[in-house]
């Protein structure tokens, strides 16, 4: 409907592109629609709540989480299957979203964004008046 996950090339940041010495990872997201809002869930394991930054500007929503890269504190790695680094992803959000009321929560490695629809696009029942 009104939300579109921008492709990596549009976002100018691909999943493991090296920028300014660090790597960005594009979190996997699920987007679904409820009657009054859109909900975005992003897989961001290992992030810290106070290091997640969400910005909304000019119709684009940016998720960025800072992660400290993997430290070899527990000895050398014999298997490294996932990357550890910042998460970054952008979304195009239409005017049908009330940007001032966007809220977010982070639980069990998943960031959940609530994007409330504006009053104008919310479904409503129209009373039919008889004369």
């Amino acid at each position: 409907m009104t939300l579109e996950a921008t492709m990596p090339q549009e976002a100018a940041v691909s999943p493991t592109e090296h920028t300014r010495g660090g790597s960005y990872y594009r979190p996997n997201v699920d987007i679904f629609e409820l009657p009054g809002e859109l909900v975005v869930k992003a897989d961001m394991p290992g992030a810290k709540m106070d290091e997640i930054d969400i910005q909304f500007e000019d119709g684009s929503l940016v998720i960025h989480a800072h992660l400290t890269t993997r430290q070899d504190t527990q000895g050398p790695f014999s298997r490294k299957e996932y990357g550890v680094g910042d998460y970054y992803r952008t979304f195009r959000v239409s005017e049908q979203i009330d940007a001032s009321r966007i809220s977010a929560e982070y639980t069990a490695g998943i960031l959940t964004l609530h994007l409330p629809k504006t009053e104008a696009v919310k479904p409503r029942k129209i009373q039919v008046e008889g004369k």
Binding site: F32, E33, P76, R79, Y82, G109, I110
Partner: protein
Amino acid sequence: MAMIPWKNKTSEGTGAPSLAEFRSEVSKLFDSFLREPVGTLSETINAWNRWGPALDVSQTDTTVTVHAELPGVDPNEIEVTVTGDRLTIAGEKKEASERTDQDVFHREMKYGSFSRTIQLPTTVDANEVSADYANGVLTVSLKKAPNSAARKIPISTGMGSASNTP
């Protein structure tokens, strides 16, 4: 130990004595090849049926630490089992029930049961395993089995053994 059956099998086939050394090399290769892919093969089969989390494995002289990316999984739904040098992480990622009646229009996450079995770098003590789940990452801490640690074997140079050498 595991080399023995392979040697026997080869010698039954040809029995050419000049090839003895070559055969022993080949059986060594076979042995290491067969030991390695067991883990990866079962992982491949797992991947067809279910999904498996990405893992990190690191080790010190005495410990092995495994990290698994499992965002959104209820820790009570995760099962960790250790047998010898095998570690299995299995469970289920459930979709929130509120989702059933709604319109999902973009989906990248995986749901359902997952299972992953890996071969650890060494045998571990199955009684000394702890697991912790935080921010979508499962950390399994294991202790290496005492007999698995690399040991320096002293070579005796006694007179008795020296006289036995041809």
